[in-house]
Structure formats: structure tokens, C-alpha cells
């Protein structure tokens, strides 16, 4: 074998092979002569046969024939009478024929045996390569977290990866050799025959299966089957790859439940909203009418009966009118407030700077005769309902003007802090009467007031309105203040 011979790269193979033929016969001749010298007789024949047998083993047919011829000649020359001559008597002829036939037979067997061994070696190499590849593949299959196993046509497991170990809790050596049905107690969504029929027809199937783990707990898996057939088309193996969807199913169920609940809630909410709307509508129509009548008749009384009523009576009439007036304002504010909750928002890009200007114009009258210092910083554009945001700003600015009324040097600052990345924070700061932080949680409540009506007028709906508007935009409102040292109102709005 050239591969086993370190000299092979120096001496040509053909020389090696024929050299071996010559060498083997030469050695056989030497050994036979040596034994003959020591009077060991009758072994020369098998020795030459051995030489003839060795040659085809290593060197092939050609050298085998050469060695056969050489062996016959050497045997004739040295060991048959007359010795040291190549003369062959007639009586010896069958002897040579037997020798040659026997040698040929041995050579043929030897060559055959050799070929078989070579084939065997080759097969072994191939097998090793195959095993190496398969091992690699198997270890790759082990890397995946999906459960993968193979079962043969009888349902007996032949391969079981690590994912399957993790999913079902059975080790590979426990699972291989068992039948899947016994091991996993699969519950099929439809008759197994149907599934099997589909598998045979399309060579694949997928669906959701319920199986049992080694600890007895149920697991829901998404299963994909593929069928392997042999060259005759008979099914030999089924590869199942699966992943655990119990958790997913649980979440889906949960989400479905929540959605259902949400649907119910939103129906309820819609109904409540409808009721509220009807309520507000009724207030709008019915509550105002008697109020108007109170005012109307009191006015008529004032006009027509002023002479017969004394001062006290006239004052009472004034009080009635004032009270009615206030109730009118309260109703209007309340309706406006409820409208914000009910109205649909129409969102567009809004320039806050422009909006502040407009809001200032709207409350301009309130600053008349006063020297208010305005500091308005650069303000961003944002996405929102223009009229609602303006109403919020009008309320906040109007508040700032109102609560700085008693200041010598009223100052109102409107700006934007860029501290947050998820949105903008706008602040409106004044140096007015401020408020006690103790009551900060009451600030944005409906009809909550921190000042007496004779100090600062108002219905207590303004900041509640602001809060409702900002909440509808997905933002937050908060405030900081100190008695006598002003107040700052913040509103955060999400970025578009």
C-alpha cells in the first residue's frame, strides 16, 4: 500500500510492486535453501506458496504472475532433481502443474480477499465520514430550543433532541425506543387517521397538540410533522418539531378575556356618556328657564314696584338678581366643562406661540389699566386640538392675570422646559398671591376654590377644565406655589 510506505514518494509504484514479487521469491528461495542446508526438508513447497500468496496481496495480479513464474523456476532449479538445473522430467510435469494451479488459486484468493478488505476499508472511511456529519447535525439539532424528535413508521422514537428533553422532561435515553403515544399521551384535535392520511398524502402536517410532560402536567405545542420515505416510497420516519405555546395560548386567552371586558366596559361607558349628555342637555334647557324667569320677574318688580318697596326690599331684590346671575354662570361653566369631556378632539399641528398670542388677545381686557410684564420664551409646535388647547391657555393666563391683581409689579412668564425627551413641558408662572402647597391636590378639582369669592371671583371650574383638556391630550398638569410668592402651572404634552 503506497499510503503505508514512507518510500513511496521516491520509488515508482510499479517498480515497488514488481520488486516485491522478486523479493518475496528471493527471500523464499533463501529461507528454503537455509532450511535445506539444515536438513529440514519438505517445507520448500509451502514457503514458495507463501511467497506467491503474499505478492498479489500487496502488489496485485501482474507481480503475482511474475512471482509465480520465478517461484516455479527457483523451485525447479534448487529443489527438484537434478538439482541446480532447470531440466524438468516428464514425471515431474504434473507436480509443476499442481504447483502452478495451486499457486494461481492462492493468488486468486489472496487478490479477492485483498479487494474485499480494501472495499471494507473504504466503507469504514465512508461510514466514519457519515457518522461525523450526522453527529454534527445531531449536535446542531441539540442547539435549537425547539423540541425535535424522530419516530419510525411504528411510532417508536429513534431520535430525541435536547429541546425535547427540556420540553417534556424525558432524557434522550429514556425516550428513544418508546412509542410516542405511550410517552406523551398526545391528544389530537381531530381523528389521528385523518392526520395520518394527510401526512401520507402531503408528506407534512401541522397543528396544535396537547401532550403530557414527564411530571404529568399538560403542555400545548405547535407541532410540525414531516415524513421521510425510502427509495421505494415507503414511509420510514416522521420528524416532529414542536414548540411550547401553552404560555402563548394562556396570554391569548387572557387578552381575549380582557378585550371582552373592555368591550363591555366601553359599551357601559358609552351608555353613561349618553346619559351624561342627556343630563347636560336637560340642564342646558330646563335649568336655565326658571333662572331666567326669576331674573325677569325680579327685574320687573324692581321696575314697577320700586316706589312701594323700601331700601331693604330693594337690596333683597339685588341679592336675588346677583344669586341668579351667579347660578347662570355656574351652569354655563359646568356645561362648558362637560362639553370638553364629550366633544371629539380634532388634532392638528398647533403653534403654541401663536396660540399664546391669541389667548393673550382674548384676555386683554382683564389687564387694562395694569402694567403687566410679560416674558414669553420660545415655544414649540405640537399636535393637539387647537380650540381646546387655546381654552386651556386662556384659563391659565386669565388666572395669572387675576391672581396678580394686587401686585405692584405683576409679572407673567410663559416658557418651555426641555427636560423631558418624551414630550414638552410648558409653564405659566406668575408672581401673584400664590397658594399653600397643602391644598395643591384641591387645585384642579371641579368647583374647588382656594380663595374667597370676595377676594377673587370665579366658579372654580377653570383649572378643572385645563386638567381635563390636557388629560384628553395624554398629558399631565401640576402646580407649584407659595403663599404670597406666586404660582407656577406646568403642563406636559406628549410629542407627536
Amino acid at each position: 500500500m503506497p499510503r503505508e510506505n514512507p518510500l513511496s514518494w521516491r520509488i515508482p509504484a510499479v517498480v515497488q510492486r514488481y520488486g516485491l514479487a522478486v523479493l518475496s521469491v528471493a527471500i523464499a528461495t533463501g529461507v528454503a535453501n537455509l532450511l535445506y542446508y539444515f536438513h529440514v526438508q519438505g517445507v520448500e513447497f509451502p514457503i514458495f506458496l507463501l511467497a506467491v500468496a503474499i505478492t498479489p496481496w500487496y502488489a496485485g495480479t501482474g507481480p503475482a504472475i511474475v512471482s509465480l513464474v520465478l517461484a516455479a523456476l527457483a523451485f525447479n532449479y534448487y529443489f527438484t532433481d537434478p538439482r541446480y538445473s532447470l531440466y524438468v522430467t516428464l514425471a515431474e510435469a504434473p507436480y509443476y502443474v499442481v504447483f502452478i494451479l495451486f499457486s494461481l488459486l492462492i493468488a486468486w484468493f489472496s487478490a479477492l480477499r485483498r479487494r474485499v478488505e480494501l472495499n471494507l476499508l473504504q466503507s469504514r472511511d465512508e461510514l466514519q465520514r457519515e457518522v461525523a456529519i450526522r453527529t454534527q447535525q445531531a449536535s446542531l439539532l441539540n442547539l435549537t430550543h425547539d423540541s425535535i424528535f424522530v419516530r419510525d413508521a411504528n411510532g417508536t422514537i429513534t431520535y430525541w433532541n435536547r429541546g425535547a428533553e427540556e420540553l417534556y422532561g424525558w432524557k434522550a435515553d429514556e425516550a428513544v425506543g418508546r412509542r410516542t403515544q405511550d410517552l406523551l399521551k398526545t391528544v389530537f384535535p381531530r381523528p389521528f387517521e385523518e392526520i395520518h392520511e394527510e401526512l401520507l398524502r402531503t408528506a407534512r402536517w401541522e397543528g396544535e397538540l396537547e401532550k403530557k410532560k414527564s411530571d404529568g402536567t399538560d403542555v400545548l405545542v405547535a407541532s410540525r410533522w414531516s415524513l421521510e420515505r425510502d427509495e421505494n416510497g415507503n414511509p420510514v420516519a416522521i420528524l416532529e418539531s414542536e414548540n411550547d405555546i401553552s404560555e402563548r395560548r394562556r396570554r391569548e386567552d387572557e387578552i381575549r378575556g380582557l378585550n371582552l371586558q373592555l368591550g363591555r366596559r366601553s359599551t357601559e361607558l358609552e351608555a353613561t356618556n349618553k346619559e351624561l349628555e342627556a343630563f347636560a342637555y336637560s340642564i342646558s334647557h330646563d335649568l336655565r328657564a326658571p333662572l331666567r324667569h326669576m331674573v325677569g320677574y325680579t327685574e320687573l318688580l324692581q321696575k314697577n314696584a320700586a316706589s312701594v318697596v323700601d331700601d331693604k326690599g330693594r337690596r333683597y331684590m339685588t341679592m336675588i338678581l346677583e344669586a341668579a346671575q351667579r347660578m347662570g354662570t355656574l351652569i354655563d361653566d359646568l356645561l362648558a366643562f362637560s362639553r370638553i369631556g364629550r366633544a371629539e378632539t380634532r388634532e392638528t399641528m398647533v403653534s403654541l406661540e401663536q396660540l399664546v398670542k391669541e389667548a393673550q388677545n382674548e384676555v386683554w381686557q382683564e389687564t387694562e389699566g395694569r402694567n403687566v410684564t410679560w416674558k414669553i420664551g420660545p415655544l414649540p409646535d405640537l399636535y393637539g386640538d387647537r380650540s381646546m388647547l387655546k381654552l386651556a391657555l386662556v384659563n391659565l393666563i386669565s388666572n395669572a392675570i387675576k391672581f396678580t391683581r394686587k401686585c405692584q409689579q405683576p409679572e407673567i412668564e410663559i416658557g418651555c422646559t426641555n427636560k423631558r425627551t418624551d414630550g414638552v413641558v410648558v409653564f405659566i408662572k406668575d408672581n401673584g398671591v400664590g397658594f399653600d402647597m397643602k391644598y395643591v391636590n384641591k387645585l384642579f378639582g371641579v368647583f374647588q376654590r382656594l380663595h374667597r369669592a370676595d377676594e377673587f371671583e370665579g366658579t372654580g371650574i377653570g383649572l378643572a377644565t385645563v386638567q381635563r383638556i390636557i388629560h384628553r391630550h395624554g398629558g399631565q398638569v401640576w402646580a407649584e406655589g407659595q403663599v404670597g410668592a406666586g404660582a407656577t402651572f406646568y403642563l406636559s404634552l406628549p410629542k407627536p
Binding site: 347636560a280 342637555y281 342646558s284 334647557h285 330646563d286 336655565r288 328657564a289 333662572l291 331666567r292 324667569h293 331674573v295 325677569g296 320677574y297 325680579t298 327685574e299 320687573l300 341668579a324 346671575q325 347662570g328 354655563d332 356645561l335 362639553r339
Partner: protein, 150 residues
């Protein structure tokens, strides 16, 4: 109150009627007012039905219409008027307590000529009524077939 007038006031609340009349008195328009106390009566008047069977054949110069009315409400009356070829030219002014946007939008969609929210303040109320009365009954030239100034 006569059967013929330039103003048809459709109002169910007698107090509102009285206050409205008081306001109109100053311009001597109160005797021009015909009052219908609900929507059905208003339509009876316009179609010469029921107690208005025998009234003269002219249309009012203006209709002051409350929205919240028993039986047939203001919007239904408005719809009936504006979809009738003979009546659609009559100017209709909605006079209501409601500031609700949907009432306003519905009224304008039906073709109302004006929409007035009754002010709570009596002076404003009187002024509003007076101006309405003067404008629609005196200044405005009513469509042909309406009651004329005597």
C-alpha cells in the same frame, strides 16, 4: 292676542310668553303676536287647522320658535316648515335656552334664519326680544303672502 299677527311665538312656558310679551310691549308689537303653546298648535296655525281653521290666509312675518316643546318639538316644526313649498319662505328664528352645538347645527341644517340663545340676564333678554321683534316684524321686508304692517 289676536288670530292674526306678524309674529308667531311658539313657546310652551307661560312665564316666557309673558316676559317676551313684556319686552315686545315697548314697541307696541305685543298685539301682533300669536302664541302657539306647542309644536302641534304651531303647525295647526300654519295649516289652518283646529282652532285656527278660520284665520285669515296670510303667513306670519316671522316665527319665533322654542326648541323644547311638548308633542311636536321645535326641530320637527322647523323641518315641516322648510320642507313645505308654501311655508318655507317664512323666516324662522329659533329662540331657545340651549347653547348646545348639536341643536344649533341641526337648526341651521334645516334652514333656520337665525338662532338666538335666550340670555339669562333680563336686560339682555328684553333687548334681544325687542331687536328680534323690530328687525323681523318691522325692518325686514317679509316674503310675499305674509301679514303686512297695518
Amino acid at each position: 292676542m289676536s288670530d292674526i299677527g306678524r309674529i308667531l311665538l311658539v313657546e310652551d312656558d307661560p312665564k316666557d310668553v309673558e316676559l317676551t310679551m313684556t319686552a315686545l310691549e315697548e314697541y307696541n308689537l305685543s298685539n301682533e303676536v300669536v302664541v302657539a303653546s306647542d309644536g302641534e298648535e304651531a303647525l295647526d296655525y300654519l295649516y289652518f287647522r283646529g282652532k285656527f281653521q278660520r284665520r285669515s290666509g296670510e303667513n306670519p312675518a316671522v316665527l319665533l320658535l322654542d326648541l323644547k316643546l311638548p308633542k311636536v318639538d321645535g326641530l320637527e316644526v322647523l323641518e315641516a316648515i322648510k320642507s313645505d313649498e308654501k311655508l318655507r319662505m317664512i323666516p324662522v328664528v329659533v329662540l331657545t335656552s340651549s347653547r348646545e352645538e348639536r341643536d344649533m347645527v341641526a337648526s341651521y341644517k334645516l334652514g333656520v334664519n337665525a338662532y338666538v340663545v335666550k340670555p339669562v340676564d333680563f336686560h339682555e333678554f328684553v333687548n334681544a326680544i325687542k331687536e328680534l321683534g323690530v328687525f323681523w316684524a318691522i325692518i325686514n321686508e317679509p316674503p310675499p303672502g305674509s301679514v303686512r304692517k297695518k
